[in-house]
Symmetry: C2
Subunit: 239 residues, 2 copies
């Protein structure tokens, strides 16, 4: 496994992301991995490493700039608030990461996807809504709201999979319904996998340490959503 820090500028900030790729000279499909709100830490890094082992070149992405990582949810949400208020800024950060990924010689530029967790899932969806050239986006316990559903949905160019805890208090049933209407209206090729008895952060083993009943790891939902992502990627990235 080869890892490399990849730096770039966007939205007035300096980003430090990390590329994971197995040795070899053949270019591979590329995947962006956006972390939860806290910033780039071990959870997203491990996912990128896992993708690299599956044969992808994976870029685990800095989201706050300067590789900033916080353990405090309030602080993280404070940092993200301006991005939710102005999705152009969120998209600028995502697009810069995608541009770096596509420019790498390890990557097949026309075979890319973006995945993300929590805020990172929203970031991946926003990238797709910007019309970015992505074969697929996958959001795990990702917020589904959009600011311009009617116009954004038509901009999607790839497939969409969102994996959601049915009891996630941050993603209300109404938000799912609105998302479904958005996807249908845009003619998007989308899927939503709902996991019963499952709340937020179900892919993250560290979630249980937060002692917040809204966040809990679920081994089954984690494993099965990851398998669903692989099934989707095998269909669109290795064709």
């Amino acid at each position: 496994m080869r890892t490399e820090t990849v730096t770039y500028e966007a939205d007035g900030l300096h980003f430090k992301s990390e590329l994971f790729v197995e040795a070899g000279t053949e270019p591979k499909p590329g995947v962006l991995v956006f972390p939860e709100a806290f910033g780039l830490g071990d959870h997203a890094r491990h996912r990128a490493e896992g993708l690299a082992k599956l044969g992808y070149a994976a870029l685990a992405c800095d989201i706050h700039g300067n590789g900033r990582l916080t353990a405090d949810l309030g602080e993280a949400l404070g940092l993200l608030k301006p991005l939710y208020a102005d999705t152009k800024r969120m998209r600028a950060r995502g697009l810069a990461a995608l541009k770096m990924l596509k420019a790498r010689e390890e990557v097949l530029a026309d075979r890319t996807a973006s995945i993300g967790f929590c805020f990172g899932g929203t970031m991946s969806l926003e990238l797709a809504r910007s019309g970015a050239d992505l074969q697929a986006v996958v959001g795990f316990h990702s917020g589904l709201a959009t600011t311009a559903p009617k116009t954004d949905a038509k901009a999607h160019r790839g497939r969409v999979l969102v994996c959601i805890g049915a009891d996630d208090p941050f993603i209300a049933p109404q938000e799912r319904t609105t998302f479904e209407e958005e996807m249908r209206g845009g003619g998007v090729d989308w899927q939503m996998h709902l996991y019963g008895g499952t709340v937020h952060s179900f892919t993250n083993r560290e979630a249980d340490q937060r002692k917040n009943p809204a966040m809990r790891y679920s081994e089954a939902a984690d494993k099965e959503s990851w398998a669903a992502m692989q099934e989707l990627f095998s269909a669109v990235l290795f064709t």
Copy 2:
């Protein structure tokens, strides 16, 4: 591959189902396969054969008695109407099939699941709602309505996965919402996979010949829902 006709009586009728199992002496997890409303034909047979190749003993089940099969949807629904009106009759047919499956020496009696398509999915759900000993049930484009949600949901003993076309005119969004409430109320370990741009009968290649816009094969939804079933089975039937 070994196949064998398995006969039994239930609900005043004589059933002719078909067991598919690979050669070998080790007992295997068992899976019931209930067909679409038309009755036991090649679609369900091929699925049972596919499960046998994956290492299960699969019983493709007669649903109308005497192996009756019709190409006419109106006739099929006419045959099923009394079963929808009296789910005890539906359950009696399912339970008889399960009893036969569990009694087979090829089958691990404490490792069984039930899958089904359209009406067959409903039949599998009704089996689970009866409190039958099943590790999992999977419904593909299956009706989700129940007659006694509050009591039935509590009877579930295994995991539930339903794979539904988001644009299936036979399974309205309200029916999905009610199902979700049923599952939540019963504390069931459930999942729902929603496929955008997908209607009824998405697993059946023959659906397109019906020239009914409500029924259409989808290669992606077929393949990915089948993979999701395998992922679930690998978690609960091979432990």
